[in-house]
Structure formats: structure tokens, C-alpha cells
Amino acid sequence: MIRFILSDLRRLWAGSLVVVLLVALATALGVSVVLQERALRLGSARAADKFDLVIGAGGSETQLVLSSVFLQPSPLPLMRGEVLGKLAADPRVDWAAPIGFGDSFSGYPIVGTTTMLAQNLSGGLIEGKIFAREGEAVIGSAVKLSLGGEIKPMHGLPEEGGETHIELVYHIAGRLRPTGTAWDRAILVPIQAVWHIHGLAAEEHAEEGAESEHEHEHEAASGTGTAEHGHEHEEAGEHHDGHEHHGKLDPDAALDESWTADAPGLPAILVKPKTIADAYKLRQEYRSGNTVAVFPGEVLTNLYATLGDAKQILVAVASGAQALVAASLVLVTVIHIGQRRRQIGALRAFGAPRGAIFGIVWLEFFFLVAVGIGLGFALGYAAALLLSDMFSETSGITMPVVFAREDAGLAAVLLAFATVLAALPAVLAYRQSPAQALRA
């Protein structure tokens, strides 16, 4: 029986291939929609997981999360710099780090922040060390630059026709561990440098205060600053000599991370509260007045509630495509049976029982559809992986393509459908009298 089915499939290989491909593509469409949507949800949720609480100036919560968690460039309103000082001193806060956007290099966003974030974001560095001076940068794991390389910040993005800042050239001091977030594509620089480049320097006394507080850090940086650093300094110096009218920035300037009331305005602050209770209290507190405080996870959930409808539309479209394929399969089946009437009639005339013929027709069709479904799952998975990779490439966010238990349900539903569909030709074959079939 199996041999008969196989030889039959070999004989009708073109038609069989078309059936398998139809089923495979329809299944792949549905599977990739489901997988991709899940990957997007999981990936962004994991990306947001790193950031417990984000505080920004009043405005769109979604925009704040998109900018801070996913590093989507957009102009955010600024809040007063003193908020950071207050947060840094708050006993409920484990750490708080400001972030400033606006510049980019080779398509990688440059994020101005503090050593605090650089230390805590990925739980350490793969190589090098954290920036300790204004002219140093730490890169995310997915940034295709090497340690010691130069970064010339460009205002905005290349496609926006941004202008390159020539006041300061960063040198890459270290590389972070992968986080699976958009931050893997980020270049972290001292926010102080960003301010200086954009002419937003804090008051003089703030810098003076930094001298004493962070002297050990400065020393540490100088201690490791070997010939390489000297070289960098020279280069940077030469660079600046040529463009003196842009104002001179000292790449070796020490970092000031004491946050006074005079600090320039900030678009967003990432906060790591000590406990969950603290997180809720802090959010409550910073929600009023001129600031908003959000849990990125919660904002994403709200976003997904909206996107959920979009997913339903996609699923409906995919289901529609599957229904079309199912209908075309029924058509194929009926035509196929018409063509096989004589064969079926002959089998019965020569003594094959109807049950066996039912079995052959059913098994043959079910086999084709099952192979199609299997192939469709593989194709859908591959497509989702490809899309995720492409998305990760541009966003830095790792999109985990994973099958969940409910996908087995989908497979079961499809197979059940195939069972019924395969029974249709089998029943049609079963109902003919052999004499009628032979006359056809």
C-alpha cells in the first residue's frame, strides 16, 4: 500500500509538489506572523526589562520609552537638571543615570550618560574599561568598531544630513557585554561631553566640586593612560588646533558626576529603585508636576493592547490566505479524484476493498498536506528568524524566535483540518460504483 502510494506520488510529482508548496506557503505565512509578533513582544519586553523606571519631562509616555529604551531618535522635552541630583541622593534609588541623545556615528546612536549606567547596563565589560574622561566612549557589543577607534559625533543621523561635530573626538575605551537591547548598538559617552559639545556646560563650581569627589577616578584613568592615551591626546589636540573657532574641549577633562541644581536640562533619567515598593513610590512622586515617571514594561503593555488589534488583523489576513489555500486544495482534490476515478474503479473491480481505497486516497492526501504543514512551520520559522535578524541588525534588540505551546495547538488544528480535507476525496472515491468509475 505504501509502495503504491509512493509510486503514485512519484508519477504525480508535479501536482504533489504544488499541493505541498501551497500548503507550506499558507502555513508559513500564518506561522511567521505568529512567531514574529511573539518575537517582537518578547524582544521588546526583555529590552524594557533592563529599565525599571524612566523619568522624563511631561509629554508622551510612549515617546519617552521609545527614546530611552529603544533609542528611537526623537526630540524629547527637557526637565530640569536638579531632578537628577535629587534622585541620586534619594535613599530609595540604587542608581540613577541621565541620558542625552541627539548625536550619532556611522548610524549608531551616541548616548550621553554617566559611568553609573555604563557600569550597570550590561553587568560589566567584555574588554577595555569604562570612560573616565570626557573624550572616551564605551560601545555596545553590537557596534562594529574596535577599541581605541575614533568616534566623530555627528549631529542627528547621516540620512538627516547631520553636521559633524569637530569640537571633540571620542576614543573607544571599552565594550559592554551584550544585553539584547537597542543599547547594544549604542555608543555611550559622558553626558558632560555631550553638554559641552552642545554648549550646555554646567556652572563652573560644579566642575570644581567634581575635582575632589572624583579624583580617584581621574587618577585611575590617568594611571592606565599609557602611551596610547598620550597619542590620543596629541591627535585630539591637533584636531582642535585646526578648528579653534569651534571652541576648545579638553578630551582629558575629568568627569563631573555630582548633580547639582545647575545641571543642564535632561530628556530622560533611567532609575534603578532598590525595591519594587520603592519603584511604585518613586513613580507616584515623579508623576506629578513637570515630570512623568513610567515603568517601560507597563507602557509597552499598553502599546501592545493597541498593537494587539493589529496582530489580529494580520492573523485574520493570514487565516484568509489559509482559507483560500484550503479552498484551492478542495478544488485540486475534486479534480484529482475526477482524474483518478478510473484508477479507483479499477482497483475495486479487481478486488481491492473500499476501505483500502479510502485508506490509500486519504493517506496520500494527508501525507501531502502534513508534509506541507511541516515544511510550512520550518519556512515560517526561517522567515521569522530572518526578519528578526534583519530587525536586530538595525535596532540592536534581540528578537527571540521561539515556538510556544500554543503553536502545537495551531499545528493540531491544521492537521485536524487536513484529516477532514483528506477524507473528502476519500469519501468521494468511496461513493462511486466501480462500473461508473470505469466508464469515466
Binding site: 500500500m1 509502495r3 503504491f4 509510486s7 503514485d8 512519484r10 508519477r11 478510473r342 484508477q343 479499477a346 482497483l347 475495486r348 473491480a349 479487481f350 478486488g351 481491492a352 476493498p353 473500499r354 476501505g355 483500502a356 481505497i357 490509500i360 460504483s433 466501480p434 462500473a435 461508473q436 470505469l438
Partner: protein
């Protein structure tokens, strides 16, 4: 060996005023060899379909050794045919992709009847019909060889009756003659009742009895042996 007894048979197709086949009484003795002749549309094929149980009748009795297959259900008729009737048709209805041996065995295999004895018999039958390569693919064979495979398939389960519907019509004269001889010889050797529908006068003349159909009725029945006709 099966004897056929038909009573009050009337087959009417929708849209036709006169019956396609009407037989008041017909007996064919067990072990006899009967030729069925007649013009196209005279009811020969309907006769074959009815007596082989390929088509159902609402009126009349078709008894094989006393068993009325007109009263059988579809699947019971299928089983009866599989066990008792060997069919050879004008078109061979062999399955490409399978070998000669596999084609001979296919219906028996599907019916779950392919025992070791049956497989051995399939080999023996193939050599009896003059095919030396049981593993040869069916699509590589000549038409004469294909009909030999079909004869082997018909005889596999030692049917009590062999019904051949124009077995030589699609063959050239030479291989048609050989196939006709083969069917006759095998029916005699196996002791099966033989019913051959044929235009082939030479083949018909070699059988014991010749029944001629006209307009759905028996118009002539030349009984060489002690047959009865109505």
C-alpha cells in the same frame, strides 16, 4: 467453479425508455465456456457489469452457485468479486510505477489476502503467461505483455469464474490471438467457468456456447453443450 443463474433481470438507466438489459432467464453451467457477442450498445458491457457485481440492479436475481449478488451490499459484492471473479478488461488497468509482480499482487495485498502461497502463485502465474521478469516495470512492457500481466492478476485468487471483456480488442492480431489462447487454456487448466465478451469470431468460435445480444436482449443462443436459454 461457479454456475450462473439469472432470473427476471431488468436494468434501466435513467432517461432511457427501454431497459439496457432485460433477461428473463439465463443459466450458465459451472465450468462452461461462453462467448458473448453483439453489436455496440446491445447490452454486453451492462451484462458484464451486472454479473461481475460492478453495478447494482434493483430488479432480478443474479445467482452464482445459488448466492444472489443482487441482494448484496456494495462492500459484500466487492468481497465476493475479489474472491470469486477474475476480471480481464479491454483496457488493462495496470498501475505504472509498479512491477509486473506488484501489479498482479496489488488487489490481493490491498484486501489483505497476499499470503506466502498467493505470492508464490503470482510468480508461477507470471511464468505461465510467459513473462520471465516479474520485476519489470509495467510501463516498459508491450501491450500484449501487459494483458498477460492482467490475466495473471485475474487468476491470482483461483476465481471460480473468469470474465473477460473484449480482452483482445486493444491488441494487434498476433498478440490478440496469443492472449485469447492463453485465457482459454488457463480457464480449462484452472477449471474456471469462462465468460468472454468478444467481437473476435475466431475466439468466440472456440468456446462451447455463444450468446448474442441485441437491443438489451438475448437474440441468439447457440448452445453446443446442454445449456438453457430463455
Amino acid at each position: 467453479m461457479l454456475a450462473l443463474n439469472i432470473e427476471n433481470l431488468s436494468v434501466v438507466f435513467p432517461g432511457l425508455s427501454s431497459p439496457a438489459l432485460a433477461i428473463g432467464h439465463l443459466s450458465i453451467a459451472a465450468g462452461s465456456r461462453v462467448a458473448i457477442t453483439g453489436a455496440s450498445g446491445s447490452g454486453k458491457s451492462t451484462f458484464v457489469n451486472i454479473v461481475a457485481g460492478l453495478e447494482r440492479t434493483r430488479q432480478g436475481r443474479i445467482r452464482w452457485n445459488g448466492e444472489d449478488i443482487a441482494g448484496f451490499s456494495e462492500s459484500r459484492r466487492d468481497r465476493f468479486r475479489a474472491a470469486n471473479i477474475g476480471l480481464v478488461m479491454q483496457e488493462f488497468h495496470l498501475f505504472p510505477g509498479l512491477s509486473a509482480l506488484e501489479n498482479v499482487l496489488l488487489p490481493a495485498r490491498l484486501a489483505g489476502a497476499a499470503t506466502a502461497d498467493i505470492i508464490e502463485r503470482a510468480h508461477a502465474l507470471l511464468s505461465t503467461v510467459g513473462l520471465s521478469r516479474p520485476g519489470q516495470k509495467i510501463e516498459t512492457m508491450s501491450r500484449g505483455e501487459m494483458q498477460r500481466v492482467a490475466i495473471g492478476r485475474a487468476l491470482l485468487r483461483k476465481p471460480g469464474v473468469i470474465i473477460a471483456d473484449e480482452p483482445t480488442a486493444s491488441l494487434d492480431a498476433e498478440s490478440g490471438e496469443a492472449v485469447g489462447d492463453l485465457i482459454l487454456d488457463l480457464a480449462i487448466a484452472e477449471g474456471s467457468t469462462l465468460i468472454v465478451v468478444s467481437h473476435d469470431q475466431r475466439l468466440a468460435s472456440r468456446l462451447d456456447r455463444c450468446i448474442t445480444f441485441g437491443s438489451g436482449r438475448i437474440s441468439e443462443d447457440s448452445t453446443a453443450t446442454a445449456g438453457e436459454a430463455a
